[in-house]
Every structure is written in structure tokens, then in C-alpha cells.
Symmetry: C2
Subunit: 139 residues, 2 copies
Amino acid sequence: MVCAMTENSLFADRNAIDASIEETAEFAPKFDAAGLIPAAVTDAATGQFLMLAYMNAEALSKTLLTGDAWYWSRSRQKLWRKGESSGNSQSVREIRTDCDQDAILLVVDQSGPACHTNRRSCFYRIVESSEAGAVLKFS
Amino acid sequence: MVCAMTENSLFADRNAIDASIEETAEFAPKFDAAGLIPAAVTDAATGQFLMLAYMNAEALSKTLLTGDAWYWSRSRQKLWRKGESSGNSQSVREIRTDCDQDAILLVVDQSGPACHTNRRSCFYRIVESSEAGAVLKFS
């Protein structure tokens, strides 16, 4: 019987994988004690680093199932679809995970600015060292 | 008197900033409950996304002061300089922070592979959805 993919069946059990976590083809993401995994986001068109956010299992599942980027807001303690209020949504071109499967990389088509300050990327400040300490330079 | 920059004096107090955290030129990174901040790392030469790791205040300070990338290993519970055992060090070209100052982006000259599996990037697997669930494809 072919079953439709559901949110609960997407991930493998990390403890039941035969191969090492680095070499397995099974997707067994590791969520931290708060149930979250960090997701770095880059622009498919330019390669620019856009933002870093967090997903819980439901956000990651929804992202995989819908092709839109979903995150967990730690400040608002709620699931959100990127762009649901701003309109600046992210259509996911590729999802990657790392060697330890404890981080996610999303390559997206970004509609409008990714940052809530209306800048294209959230990383618009360079940290520069001086004798007085570290300061930020807008770029 | 001009004082040499020390590790303790690098960061501003988040609670003492007049401007919003998004618009200030003061560097006041936010460390989580475990004292860590995530650091995404990209390749200065190619733009490739290499890895995601964590820094505590000491690792971030050492990175700023030395120009080499330092991290905090959560599994080994120790500070480490990238490449100290593998030789695959990272010379930091640029450090950025994001709107909320709760994430770091390092743009580095990567010597050799960034990943402990000897691959250039840790993100060598693409997550693909299928009816049976999500699986990983090596790339």
C-alpha cells in the first residue's frame, strides 16, 4: 500500500540507524533540548546569506511538505510561515543537512527583503575590532 | 591612556544600548541560556556554505582578537581552534552579525576541507521528500 507522506512519518529514528550519522541516507535530524534545529538560509539566485532561524519538527515537516519555509519563533513561541504577515515568503529550492544532522541549510527564492528591517539580508553589519572594543559597521 | 583590547571588554551591554538592537553600532551579541551563539561559516573564495558551529563569549573574543576561527564544542565541552588537530584552519576575512545580534556569520579562507569527514562542506547531503518519508542524497 502506498501511503501519503504525513508529518509524523518524515524522519528516521536516530537510534535505529545502522550506518554512521555522517554516512547514512536516512534523514534523522537532531533537535536540541528545546526541540529546535537551526536553519541557515541562502539566496538561490545570488548565494547571499540571508538569515538564520529555528525550526521545530513541525516547521521542518511543513517546509518539506509544502515547499514554503516555516520556522518556530522563539520570541513569539509560535510556528510561522515566512512571509505570512510581510508577504516576503521563501520558496525552497533545496534543503540540506550537515554531517551530524543537527543543522539545516535552506536555499530559497526570496521574495522581497528577508529581514524584518526591510533589508535584503539580516546580516547587514560587519563586526570590526578597535582598541576600544568591537563595533558594528553598516554595509 | 590607550589600553590594549582584552577579551572582557569586547562586547557592549545589551541592556545599556540607547538605539534599537537592529540599528545600533554597538556590538552586543546575545548568547543563549547555555552561553552560546550560532556561527554560520561561508567560504570567502566561492561563497559556499561550509559549516555551522557554536561560539561562547571566549571563542568569539578569540576569533575577533586573533583572526582565526575559534568555537565551543558542545560534544567535547571545550574551546577549540578550527584546524588545531586537523590542520584545516579558518582565517577570518569578515565577521557579521544579524538584526537581533543573536547569530554570527564568518566569511573565511578555508584551508583544506571544513568537514571532519574530509569533505569541503559539512552540507554534502540534500534532503529529498518521497512517499516513504524524507531521504538524503549525497551531492
